[in-house]
């Protein structure tokens, strides 16, 4: 039903208002591809019936890859034949989502030739999402993409497309080079990205400091979050300038420090750096006056995931501090041990965070050969159920 004049009475309501409209976007793409009409038609129907009209996925992909494409089929193929197939392709974004206008045009041109003309910039894992194409367009589209220097991202039980905050490219607080690390790790593990080898998905996210602008602690199986070991860099004149401009240094900076390790006497700020937990608050509040220390690196945390099945997890501390220049080697070394253990002991559809909960952090550390340190926990056990071993 490639009818240009598809009725979208309900969806039209979503063209109103100040926020940019996805309905307008779909309508704009009509001139690229007739599938947009059927998409609008089916979506309008969903809006009328209050129910989706997509079928449970099917396995489609490009040759030799086990992921990167999400198969999708309409449950009303007769009514909306152009979206009978409506697969998405996940294209691995460049680190930090930086582009030139040329690169974007190249992507647009490829997609106009092979797909709906609709995208997500970007998917929540970080990929460029090409939204909607047919099975037989996958391979030709992939060919053009790789020729233009782009490759697919992940889906299924593989390493998923890593992502990174803007980091050193435009942020004064980056404690290691997030974008390079993201790029290098992605290249390092191309096989794991494209050919699902694991019990389930595995995500990396790289944030340059504890502000965690890619939400890595909530959404990555391995969260790499920049931090520092020495003292906060402090410029007293600039502190005074903030105070002069009206910042309430006592209440809004010192008063909100989680460890209350700062003192402000009205003139001079004193930080007890041994008590500081590197939360970033004071630095965020006075970016001209304070900055992370010079001995920089990252904390490695493991195991975040969404709630299905046993409840959501945030990542937890695996290595409190790795100096920036040892980061790549340390991650490579550790991740191979983690993946080995997970491969061997992980159940089907068990994320690494769930595995750790199941076998216990202590056993997990034994298995990957890491010494326990108190930084890994908020408090020691409060139950007396200790599995004493003979060595004890």
């Amino acid at each position: 039903m490639a009818d240009e004049k598809v009725q979208t009475k309900l969806l039209d309501e979503l063209e109103k208002g100040p926020w940019p409209s996805f309905v307008k976007e779909i309508k704009k793409a009509r001139k690229v591809s007739p599938v947009c009409d059927d998409l609008l038609g089916q979506l309008e129907l969903s809006y009328e019936e209050k129910v989706g009209h997509w079928k449970h996925g099917g396995i489609v992909g490009v040759m030799g890859y086990g992921g990167g494409v999400i198969g999708r089929y309409s449950d009303l193929p007769e009514k909306f034949p152009n979206v009978a197939h409506f697969h998405t392709m996940r294209i691995n974004q460049p680190s930090g989502w930086f582009y030139t206008s040329n690169a974007l045009r190249t992507l647009c041109d490829i997609w106009d030739r092979h797909g709906s003309g609709l995208t997500n910039m970007h998917g929540s894992t970080g990929d460029i999402v090409f939204l909607g194409t047919k099975t037989d367009e996958l391979e030709p589209c992939f060919k053009e993409l790789t020729e233009a220097g782009f490759d697919l991202g992940g889906s299924g039980s593989c390493m998923r497309t890593p992502s990174a905050c803007v980091g050193k490219a435009r942020c004064e607080w980056a404690c290691y080079d997030t974008m390079k690390m993201c790029n290098d790790i992605t290249h390092q593990y191309q096989d794991e990205l494209h050919r699902p080898p694991f019990p389930y998905k595995f995500k990396f996210k790289f944030s340059g400091c504890p502000n965690d602008c890619v939400a890595s602690i909530a959404r990555a199986d391995l969260s790499v979050i920049g931090t520092w070991k020495d003292d906060i860099q402090q410029n007293d004149a600039e502190v005074a300038a903030y105070a002069a401009k009206g910042l309430d240094v006592q209440d809004d900076v010192c008063g909100r420090c989680p460890t209350k390790c700062m003192k402000w006497d009205g003139k001079k700020l004193t930080i007890n750096n041994r008590e500081c937990v590197r939360c970033m608050h004071c630095i965020n509040a006075m970016p001209k006056a304070l900055a992370p220390g010079k001995e920089r690196g990252a904390t490695l945390l493991i195991g975040a995931k969404a709630p299905i099945v046993q409840g959501a997890l945030l990542s937890s501390v695996l290595v409190p501090f790795v100096p920036a220049d040892e980061l790549m080697d340390t991650i490579k070394e550790l991740i191979s041990r983690v993946w080995d253990f997970w491969d061997e002991y992980g159940k089907n559809r068990e994320r690494v965070g769930e595995l750790i909960q199941r076998v216990g952090m202590g056993n997990f550390l034994d298995a990957i050969g890491l010494d326990p340190v108190p930084e890994m926990i908020t408090a020691p056990r409060d139950n007396p159920y200790i599995y004493f071993k003979d060595e004890a």
């Binding site: 940019p20 997509w54 974007l104 939204l131 490759d151 992605t186 969404a306 945030l314």
Partner: protein, 360 residues
């Protein structure tokens, strides 16, 4: 055939980001000193060298046509030497070395319908998912709700006058593709009816043992229906998570009248001040009300406004609620407290109030 695989390019990974960096960024990579917020949506980063890079951040519906992407490319060429990026919350950022270009760029963006803002203590873009546009699993739409909510909150995007950052996320089912579980306000699609088992296709499309194992509450049991091997669901044990549906297409939960939306509040990701936190249940259920979702919009706006009025400077939603206490949150927002708010899953006991610290 034999020659094919050799020529085919695979496993090249993403293009190296370096070739997409603005020259000022390339030169000052890792050498930034501080930044300033020049206006809502406008940042200025200053390098040790004294160089400056200006950023103009504009809203994006995320679902973008190639037409619009080319418009962004045009603007980047006109004002930014062709350099731009997207953010982790799907906004588009134009990178300028010439401060004079900021206003003209903003003007064009606004004319094209892309508000500038989202920085500092604004409400930034809603991180969201596919909904009825692409996913089979959704209990609600995604883009339409985002559009409706952000229409109502657009001023909060173009102004930075909240006590702190406020992050909203939406996921259309419990798989929670997005940071929904750690957002200041999370909008989450929920089912309220157990799977309607398609006994006819089940044995063909699903592995019964895997299906049974998929249920976190053990609600699924083997059963013989019309002589065929299938399963049954103990309805009282089902809490509508749809994990069974994820592993087996014969277990759909969709239900036009019973699907809808829940609202969760007080999560955060950053380590600033307090540790990262999960979002907690505020409103168990709002019906699906396309096309403009008034119930959800009102609920979100109400929570935002109560927060804006009551929180102290630098207090994220969750930090504010922890200060005033959840009873006060329910009182101030007028949201009714129900038994659904009381956790009954695996860690439920850890949420019971085990002290006499009570405000009267």
């Amino acid at each position: 055939m034999a020659a094919e695989p050799v020529k085919r390019i695979t496993d090249i990974g993403p293009p190296n980001f370096e070739k997409f960096l603005h020259p000022v960024i390339k030169k000052n990579y890792g050498l930034w000193k501080y930044h300033d917020n020049l206006a809502p949506g406008v940042l200025c980063h200053v390098a040790e060298s004294g160089d400056k890079i200006f950023t103009v951040r504009a809203a994006s519906p995320r679902l973008l046509s190639t037409t619009t992407i080319r418009q962004f490319a045009d603007l980047a060429e006109k004002y930014c030497g062709g350099y731009l990026r997207f953010t982790s919350r799907n906004n588009v950022e134009f990178l300028l070395d010439n401060q004079a270009n900021i206003e003209p760029l903003k003007k064009e963006l606004l004319a094209l319908g892309f508000p500038v803002g989202g920085t500092n203590n604004a409400i930034s873009n809603i991180v969201h998912t596919q909904g009825w546009v692409h996913c089979h699993s959704s209990a609600t739409d995604a883009s339409g709700i985002v559009k409706s909510v952000m229409d109502a909150l657009c001023d909060r995007f173009t102004h930075e006058d909240l006590p702190a950052k406020l992050r909203i996320a939406l996921a259309c089912c419990l798989n929670m593709c997005g940071a929904v579980h750690c957002s200041d306000i999370a909008i989450l699609g929920v089912h309220r009816k157990p799977p309607k088992i398609k006994h006819d296709i089940l044995p063909k499309v699903c592995e019964v043992p895997t299906l049974i194992a998929s249920c976190p509450t053990g609600a699924i049991r083997p059963a013989t229906v019309d002589g065929k091997q299938s399963v049954e669901v103990v309805e009282e044990q089902c809490m509508f998570c749809a994990n069974c549906y994820t592993v087996c297409p014969a277990m759909p939960l969709n239900d036009p009248e019973n699907d809808g939306i829940s609202i969760w509040v007080g999560g955060k990701v950053s380590n600033a001040r307090s540790a990262p936190k999960f979002s907690k249940l505020a409103i168990p259920f709002i019906p699906n009300e396309p096309p403009r979702w008034p119930g959800v919009v009102d609920a979100v706006v109400n929570i935002v406004e109560v927060y804006a009025k009551n929180a102290k400077k630098f207090e994220r939603m969750g930090e504010w609620i922890e200060r005033i206490g959840w009873p006060k949150f329910f009182e101030l927002t007028g949201i009714p407290f129900t038994k659904y708010h009381i956790d009954d899953f695996r860690l439920a006991g850890t949420t019971y109030a085990r002290s006499t610290h009570i405000r009267f």
